[in-house]
Symmetry: C2
Subunit: 250 residues, 2 copies
DNA sequence: CGCGGTGTTGACAGGCTTCAAGCTGTGTGG
DNA sequence: CCACACAGCTTGAAGCCTGTCAACACCGCG
C-alpha cells in the first residue's frame, strides 16, 4: 500500500492527460511502457521559480505536464532576452543533455508540474525505440523552426508587428494544448516579459500594446492579456500562423 | 572503368577530407559504411545559387562538403532575415525532412559541394544506427543553441556589439573547419548580407563596420572582411565565443 | 501605513532608417 | 577604345522609431 501511495503522487504515463489531446500522436503500448519507465518522477514548482540555470549542469530532462514558463539568456550587464515559451508537451533540458552545460535558463510563469527523465537513459531510448529517437529530433527541429520565426520577428518586424506576432503565437500555442480557452486570460505575464521577448524597452512595449488595444485586438489585464481577435493580430504581424500538425510527446 | 570514373566524380565517404579534421568525432567502420550507402550523390553549385527554397518540398538532406552559404527567411514585402550560415560539416534540409515543407531558403555564397541524402532513409538510420540518430539530434540541438545566441544578439545587443559578435562567430566557425586561415579573407560576403543578419539597414551596417575598422579589429575588403583581432571583437561583443567541442559529422 | 511590483504617460535624446548622391571597379556592347 | 550599366561601398542630411528619464496611479501585502 505504501508503494501505491507513492505512485499516486505522480501522474501515470498511461493516464497522462496530455495524451487525450488529439494534437499529440498516438503511442504504441510498448512505447508507452518504455517512457513510463524512463520517467523518474515529477517536479512541482511555484510561479516565478527558476527551473534551470544558465551555466549549470543538470542531469535531467523534463517534459511540461501543466503550467507554463520561458527560456531566457542574460548578457553580462543584465540585459535579458527571452528565447521561447514552454507549455504542456514541450521538452526542456535537451540542450543541456547534449551540450553538457545549460546555455539558457528556464523560469516558471505559473505553477508547473514537469515529468523528470534521466539524461543517462537517453542513449537507451535511441537504441530500444528508434521512433522515439526520431521524435526527439522532431522536437529539436521544431524548436529550431520556431526560433527561426522569432529571429525574423526581432530582426525585421516593427514593434507593432512583433507584438502582434508574439501574442498570436502565444495564443495559438496555448489553445492548442488547452492552456487557454478562446482567450489568453489565464496566462499570467508582465509587460517586462513581453519587452524582453520582443527586444524592446518596457516603455515602448507598453505604448505598443496600447496601440493593439486601441485596435480592439487585445485587452491588457492585470498581468496578462485577453486576445480578442487572433486573425487581426496575424494580419498586423503579416504572419500565417503556426501549422496545425500532429506532434510527438515524450 | 566507367564505374570507376563515375565514382571518381564524387568524394568517397571513406576518403572524406572533413574526417581528417580532428574537430569531428571518429566513425566506426560500420557507421562509415552505412553513411556511405546513405549518400546518394553530390550537388555542385555556383556562388549565389539557391539550394533550397522556402515553401518547397525537397526530398533530400544535405551535408556541406566545401564552400559556404546561409539560411534565410523572407517577409511578404521582401524584408529578409538571415538566420544562420552553413559551412563544411553542417547539415541542411533536416527541418524540411521533418516538417515536410521547407520553412526557409538556403543560398550559396561561394561555389559549394554538398553530399546528398534521401529523406526516406532517415528512419532506417535511426533503426540501424541509434548513435547516428543521436548525432542528428545533437546537430539539431546545436543549431538551436546557435539560434538562441543570435536571438540574444539581435534582440539585446547594440549595433556595434552585434556586428562584432557576428564577425567573431563567422571567423571562429570558419577557422574551425579550415575554411579560412587566420583571416576571413577568402569568405565572400556583402554588407547587405551582414545587414540582413544583424537586423540593421545597410547604411547603418556600413557605418558600424567602419567603426570596427577604426578600432583596428577588422579590415573591410571588396566583398568580405579580414579579421585582425578576434579577441577584440569578442570583447566588444561581450561574448565568450563558441565552445570548442568535438562534433559529429554525418 | 509604507513599500515594492506593475502599468501608464509625457518629454527629450539618440540610435537607426530612409533618402539621396557620388565613388569605385567590373563587365558588356558599340 | 570608350560609353554605359550595374553592383557594391561610402557619406551626409533629415526625420522617425525607440530608448531613457521621470513622475504618477494602482494594487496587494507586511
Amino acid at each position: 500500500m505504501k508503494n501505491h501511495k507513492a505512485r499516486a503522487e505522480r501522474t501515470d504515463c498511461e493516464k497522462c492527460p496530455l495524451r487525450e489531446i488529439k494534437k499529440f500522436r498516438d503511442f504504441g503500448p510498448d512505447e508507452l511502457e518504455f517512457v513510463s519507465n524512463f520517467k523518474k518522477g515529477e517536479l512541482h514548482t511555484d510561479p516565478g521559480a527558476t527551473i534551470l540555470v544558465e551555466g549549470s549542469n543538470n542531469p535531467h530532462i523534463y517534459t511540461v505536464l501543466t503550467g507554463w514558463g520561458f527560456r531566457s539568456k542574460l548578457l553580462e550587464d543584465g540585459r535579458r532576452q527571452i528565447l521561447n515559451y514552454i507549455m504542456p508537451g514541450d521538452m526542456i533540458g535537451l540542450q543541456g543533455s547534449i551540450m553538457g552545460e545549460m546555455e539558457h535558463s528556464v523560469e516558471a510563469l505559473s505553477a508547473m508540474t514537469l515529468c523528470v527523465f534521466e539524461r543517462e537513459y537517453m542513449m537507451k531510448l535511441y537504441e530500444k525505440h528508434p521512433d522515439l529517437g526520431y521524435d526527439i529530433t522532431w522536437i529539436a527541429a521544431t524548436e529550431e523552426r520556431i526560433l527561426d520565426e522569432h529571429l525574423v520577428s526581432v530582426g525585421r518586424r516593427t514593434a507593432l508587428e512583433r507584438a502582434a506576432y508574439l501574442l498570436a503565437y502565444l495564443h495559438q500555442k496555448a489553445t492548442a494544448v488547452g492552456l487557454a480557452q478562446e482567450e489568453c486570460s489565464d496566462l499570467s505575464i508582465t509587460q517586462q516579459h513581453i519587452a524582453d521577448t520582443l527586444g524592446l524597452s518596457i516603455v515602448h512595449t507598453n505604448k505598443t500594446l496600447r496601440k493593439l488595444a486601441q485596435k480592439d485586438l487585445i485587452i491588457w489585464k492585470e498581468r496578462g492579456c485577453e486576445v480578442l481577435n487572433v486573425k487581426g493580430l496575424l494580419q498586423v504581424a503579416g504572419w500565417e500562423g503556426m501549422p496545425e500538425k500532429c506532434r510527438p510527446l515524450i
